[in-house]
Subunit: 387 residues, 4 copies
């Protein structure tokens, strides 16, 4: 556990970073929900504040005054034991509160959290410090969602506005694909450290694995184009049955944000549309596409435990948001002499073949926070997780 003032500093650092992500936006950009899975940026800003108000301030701070009672309804994502969440599909119907009013809500919550860090008695602080950590990790998840969602909002617009034109690309080279062998046997997976972890990362437990190999880098655009050129999107034998149905129903023909213009593949990024770099990792593909690609390539997606094993001893370093690319980069910026798998951290989430289920012995958070993760352990696949 962090010390109180460390956590306080972290709180404000993370909150400020969230807001800094919004600086490039026009007011109008904060409002739009361009598809059901997207939330408007101002909704993210308010929801992350709702989290602290609901799970800490309401009960931990004497005399805390709810900023706006209706916000309890509007910015509840899915916690049914806390109240009646506003329908997700209608988040884009809300012109109010305005962006300025949402920032005022954040300010209200931040001032109260400051009081919490300053004034809470030891026993009260002790009771809530972990929830504060959950709230910060939660806010970091929404930082990622803000970028993911605004990317979709802007890319849906025929005017093709860029989020930031000044993001640097990082062209690399055609790094040779190799396979790193692992012996398998009895391995341990799940969080093993002392610092924060989500309930669904615990408990650490044993799994028995057969020997396996894992690719030493991500699949590149060049390789994915080979799959496409070989009829990948037109051969049902390569696809799971549900995947083929989705591909037909939704008319998939390439990764999301790819478009062919005058014979060249273009990719939409947060800095606008540009030609596909053949060496960059392919991203924004569904599980079904990843699975079909793997079958075409004569391989398979790794199991969650295999991926965890491969990543376990690596230094969590990579193309994270701090590097300022906001897009996966090709590998030549790093050493590939070694056989170790690269790009396990940063760049992009990586599909595994494992459905999302509870670890053996899983115990959800207590109370309403138990709705955070546990009730979604169904009908989803695990993605490789960085750090």
């Amino acid at each position: 556990m962090m010390k109180r003032d460390e956590l306080r500093d972290l709180y404000f650092r993370i909150r400020r970073f969230t807001e800094s992500l919004c600086e490039p936006l026009e007011t109008e950009d904060y409002v739009v929900q361009s598809m059901p899975d997207v939330s408007p940026t101002k909704w993210h800003l308010a929801h992350t504040s709702w989290f602290f108000e609901t799970f800490i301030l309401r009960t931990a701070v004497n005399g805390y005054s709810i900023h706006n009672g209706m916000f309890q309804h509007l910015f509840n994502s899915y916690y049914k034991t806390v109240g009646d969440p506003f329908p997700r599909l209608q988040r884009g119907f809300l012109s109010r509160p305005t962006v300025a009013e949402v920032y005022a809500f954040r300010e209200h919550v931040d001032r109260a959290m400051e009081r919490f860090f300053a004034d809470a008695s030891g026993s009260v602080y002790h009771k809530y410090e972990f929830i504060a950590e959950v709230g910060l990790n939660h806010e970091e998840q929404h930082q990622e969602l803000i970028l993911t969602d605004i990317k979709h909002v802007l890319a849906s617009n025929p005017l093709q506005p860029a989020y930031r034109k000044d993001l640097s690309a990082a062209p690399g080279e055609d790094a040779r694909l190799g396979w790193t062998p692992f012996a398998g046997g009895m391995v341990e997976v799940g969080y093993r450290g002392e610092s924060f972890s989500f309930d669904n990362e615990r408990p650490r437990h044993c799994v028995y694995l057969r020997p396996f190999e894992i690719a030493n880098r991500l699949v590149t655009a060049r390789e994915y184009v080979e799959f496409m050129d070989d009829g990948g999107y037109h051969r049902p034998d390569l696809w799971l049955s549900d995947g083929w149905d989705a591909r037909m129903r939704l008319d998939w023909f390439a990764p999301l944000y790819w478009q062919k213009m005058e014979g060249e593949w273009q990719v939409g990024t947060l800095s606008g549309s540009r030609g596909v770099d053949p060496n960059e990792p392919v991203c924004h593909i569904s599980y079904y596409e990843a699975d079909a690609y793997a079958r075409w390539a004569g391989a398979r997606l790794p199991r969650e435990e295999e991926w965890e094993t491969a990543a376990a001893d690596e230094t969590p370093d990579g193309n994270f948001v701090e590097r300022g690319h906001y897009h996966p980069v090709s590998l030549a910026t790093r050493s590939t002499a070694e056989e170790k798998p690269a790009q396990l951290f940063g760049d992009t989430w990586e599909w595994t073949a494992s459905p999302y289920t509870a670890y053996p012995g899983y115990v959800p958070y207590e109370g309403s926070l138990g709705e955070y993760n546990g009730k979604f352990m169904c009908n989803q696949m695990v993605l490789g997780r960085s750090s």
Copy 2:
């Protein structure tokens, strides 16, 4: 036809009025599409400018430069012979152009229209003056849509923001319902004047009518509540078959924007929610509800030609937007001693029993403007039209 400078003055008066309707809005309010039939306010502002750019400026003004080529696509409502209209259901997905950029587009168009009025040769002006009149009537239609649509956007929001809090109500009395008799026989309907009319208002033509009566005022909220209290929404025998299906599927139980709170009916208006005035005209009901009400009341909706006949000799005066109510008002503010039907102008659109079809001898506008009205003569009912 108006003189050139009269039309020029009218142009700027109407364009400015459109903008004045938007003054109460926050930037965020311009963006939202809260249901498929709603368009975002900024879309209305841009589309009405697109109209002048597309049908006049592009060809009538030498050296006119298109403001933004993509706007030709984004703000085309449904003119397929002009290009590929942006999908209606996605208008709310567009955060750009920003509101400021839309106003700049309006300014660009207005400056060019000023040049058109000032510099067009006689023959060019003659060729386009009628289209300019169409464009202004078109813009007035969208003024009404702006109010209709922003009403829905704000009313969909649990925060219940008001468009303008300062709109005055006009409580009246319980005006006695009477029936005005008309002899029928051969009547003429369709536009007969010299000034502007839409293509679907012509040609004037003869219709033979049986004797009929028409109510001397609109149905009041009090009467409609009686219908509801008598099980109006629960008796399929009162409804058209399609109407009953809609009522069940959409769970209708009262007019749109009505809600019962602590036993009292509240109505949402552009100045916020308030108690229903029993003497105010009921509005925001579907054709099916109007039809069911009429059947319950032992009456029927008037035919289009009956309504036209009743309104033909009346002075077009009433509760129009200029009065500043932005809501229908009860009748006691006017004389009801006479037996003549009142409230035919202003207040609210009035359902007739007539499907929307072409008048005998109807000829659509020439060219792409022919898409304005003709292609919609299907699956809609005629509403009583004011002025």
Copy 3:
């Protein structure tokens, strides 16, 4: 009104004819509902019997015993004032009652109707004789529906079974298209005779018409192919807006039951699939297609009153079911020397431009029979009616 024994004989003649239409069917054919608008044949057989049981036998015949109480629910089409109709979309989910049991139900009803004709007192008979006539006309409507629906059931089957292989075609010649002029003016429409009519055919009333012309024959397949070859299904300017939406959504490219095989248009008929005869009338097209064709041809669909006027003085003779073609036939089998419109009776229903509404002064049947027609006067177009 017919005499009692005439009506009795007609009753049994019509009932037997219904059953004779089913002779070519396999047991399995009676069961299937191949689209929402189709009803299984055995449903038609039972529903028409339900009609007599519900509206006559239950109250007119002392001691009549309901055949099966559940049939009151299962075979009620849409009479909500009589009970709760079984959901239309699930008619094809009912394997029981079996076909044999449905015929037993018919037999039960027929025996009771025989008693009714034989034994009803004068006053009881007088009270019900009109309803019996309604029931017979109702059954004739369902005879048509049986053929329409079984045609769809069989045509949906890749095995392409024929209803009857022995139906005779009647190839004709390319009859020249001409236009028959009518003076218009004040005309009368609506039923004027003494014998049976539906409530929606009354009252006879005056309508004022402008002069008009009507084609002297139906549109032929040759003409329709010209429309198709001229891009008829690819030019939105020819279509109503709703029509174009339907054409795109449902992927229409030709009349229902037409398919191109090896460059030749084939048409599915009740005697199986065969090459299109260029001189046969085109049929199985929607209102939207008929409207688009008319616009392409520089014409328009006739108004209901125009069609009625054209047909008023013609002898009701034509290609009815008794001729045994079960398909429209080309015109050369009849004289075309004269300018009079042909094919107004028999062959096919003919689209008019008139929405289906109540005639001025329309009064629905009394009681539950009032649901027969009145509640459907909405969102449908009038088709030219034979006899």
Copy 4:
């Protein structure tokens, strides 16, 4: 592997049993598809024959004549590498082939299979004998589907016909619930024998398990009613998020086929509807309901490997179809003195908490048969499997 004549005898025994299951049906019952997951009985009869024709007879038997080329299309379930399967949702639209024609198809296939068993050379027989075994196991799966599907067809009918009235119930007692402990550790799962197994049952592999307990009998109706009476269907905290959405959207309130009549729960069975026996196992509940029940009961569903471990050493004996109940039975007909889990075989499928995925090292069948199982390893949960 069985000897050739043993397999031959088995073939005819299984084929005859399929047909014996259909003896209680009326012709009409064979035709209906009462929901998307149901297939008409005659489709099952034909599809299982299509299997032998497609995967054996076409290539293994010289001079074999395809019974009807179109059947290759109609009765292909989902094998895209073999051809274009007829759309699953339209199986109930096919009145033809008739039931008699389907039996003729079966006869045709059986005669050819008889020739195969009699005349195939050693090498040909060797190549196809395993496929014949697959086909027989496949047919047994469809025997179960025939009963499952006809149950739905008949239960959807308000006439509530019974499949067979003569099925014997087996009322038992309230067997005490106990929990059988297992030590866990390294266990092996997957098929280990010499006789037939499906590809998805292999290879046998090691799994490491924590100690666990498993209930010594199935959940009874009594227990499930307690869950319902405690608000089980009204407490979102008990449900997975997707489960709650399904429960709301589909309006679940009890197990499928349960209905409350005059305060008593009735259950629909293949012998008709009858009062729920509180001691009978609850069945026809979804994964979401089973999961919610387990959470309510303070337990969890077992993992696939736990269930397999519990069942591994049990004698595969239980309430299979041969016992003639066609419904799960309560436990008192068996000994419960011991602590061993009962009812693992027969009675009903049992939900596990494990998503359906490939076993480590899984290899699909070769060729088109590879579509049998592999492409469905997604978005499904594993059920406990008997024998």
